[in-house]
Amino acid sequence: MSEYKWRYAFFLGCVIPNRYPMIERSIRDVFEELGAEILDMPGASCCPAPGVFRAFHIPTWLVIAARNISIAEELGVSPLTGCNGCYGTLRDAWYDLEHNPEEKKHVNELLAKVGRQYKGNFEPKHVVQALYLDMGLDYLKDHIKHKFDDLKVGVHYGCHIVKPSDKRPWHGEYENPQFLDEIVEITGAKSIDYKDKYMCCGAGGAVRTAVKEVAADFTREKLVNMRDAGVDIIINCCPFCHLQLDLGQVEVNNFYKDIIGEPFKIPVIYITQLLGVAMGMDPNRLGLIKNHDLKGVSPFIPIDRFLDIVKEQII
């Protein structure tokens, strides 16, 4: 019965399942539609966050990361993550352990105490990596049903999907990668160039937890540059950047109201939400229409503007 072309173990992380479940929904649905089977990873934990818990204690970071990878190994497939932070952790830990047999031995001694083993035989992958490198643009193009020719997108990559470049699959490219723009543009949308496009959102490295105002000031700079370039929406590939650009946008409007002029209200959309709606999937399920009356939940910046621009194409 296995009609699937690809199989992945879905490493959820924290922010996707616990704060932006519409991203989880959209990844599951889009991958299913594209013929990729998504397996759950029972009992997976925080990756642990590379700029936070690795910064507290590298050995803890490494052993918990190895435990997470070992759950995917038991399923016999690559761990797949939709989060740049989780990608940073799983990929860096995998890289470090594969290049350091002593460390690998030590990690396995620890894992043995809970009856686990890390082998390192499956490369951790990012959702965007699976879309772009495993499936490829041509394959994706065949699934596109609607073209959004009027949509101007500010693409935000975030940091850890491309850096450190020696541990990433993009052939050392980090100054000017194009893969995410190319995926965006198969939906007909235009990726608009803006100043310092590859700059960090500000949330990572435990900065958001340390001083919210500093994180928000990074975000303010990005938002100003995007607004100056005339973007309609932001597309990203990381739930923590997503949170920082969405909830952080509210914080920017609050902390920096005296210097930003008009408050920002740029809808923030994850790549598989955009791809899904272009593939003809239900915008309700993808989290592009508010279908509940819960208070204090994501998205914090209304996304109606996005549907206004594309509604003629999707009806």
Binding site: C14, G43, S45, F53
Partner: protein
């Protein structure tokens, strides 16, 4: 050399220079920093340095000279780990990784912010998630949001497997994380008590 010039070329040496800390820097592999030619590329590339007092090169220099004030300053916690400095350093110094190692030493010496300590101890160690959704009251709306997308209220992570939380805690105990946090808490409390004592003595002095 005239006094005039002498005055400007004399360097202040930080009082807190400690051989114990220097040794920790060396053990952590930080001597790679010695290849630094002070070109400033790291500082020039740093989005954090553009808005805070954090200067990558100066943190690197302090570490290089064994100046332990680098561990106390909040500055090293302003790095967002964007990896620009790491990528662009002409001497191939893995700058971001060095900052992360400096932070490890800082935590070992008890220099960890309250918000980071809570995150590590009360959230990550306790639940296995860095951003949890399992609090019966505080996270109710997040579980409802999951359900509105046809997902189970709790994800198939540690949140659905209590024995997996135990497993993570066993690993964290074995690898020394719990002890590290407990020690950091002790050092923080001690420093706080000392600071309070000095402040009290000062006010009493002033009263006299």
């Amino acid at each position: 050399m005239s006094d005039n010039v002498e005055k400007y070329i004399k360097r202040k040496v930080h009082k807190g220079m400690s051989t114990k800390i220097s040794q920790k820097f060396i053990d952590a592999g930080l001597e790679k920093i010695r290849a630094c030619i002070n070109c400033g590329t790291c500082t020039g590339s740093c989005p954090s340095g553009r808005r805070t007092a954090y200067r990558t090169r100066s943190a690197i220099r302090k570490a290089l000279t064994g100046d332990e004030s680098v561990l106390e300053d909040i500055d090293i916690w302003m790095c967002s780990t964007c990896y620009y400095c790491y990528e662009r350093c002409p001497r191939d110094i893995p700058v971001t990784d060095m900052i992360i190692k400096l932070r490890n030493i800082a935590v070992e010496e008890g220099f960890i912010l309250d918000s980071h300590f809570t995150l590590a101890s009360d959230i990550f160690y306790a639940t296995g998630h860095g951003v949890p959704a399992n609090d019966p009251e505080a996270h109710k709306q997040w579980r409802a949001l999951r359900e509105s997308y046809g997902l189970p209220p709790l994800p198939p992570t540690v949140h659905s497997y209590p024995e997996a939380v135990k497993e993570c805690q066993t690993l964290m105990n074995e690898v020394g994380f719990r002890a590290l946090l407990d020690n950091a808490a002790k050092l923080k409390a001690k420093r706080k008590a000392e600071a309070e004592k000095i402040a009290k003595e000062k006010t009493e002095e002033e009263k006299k």
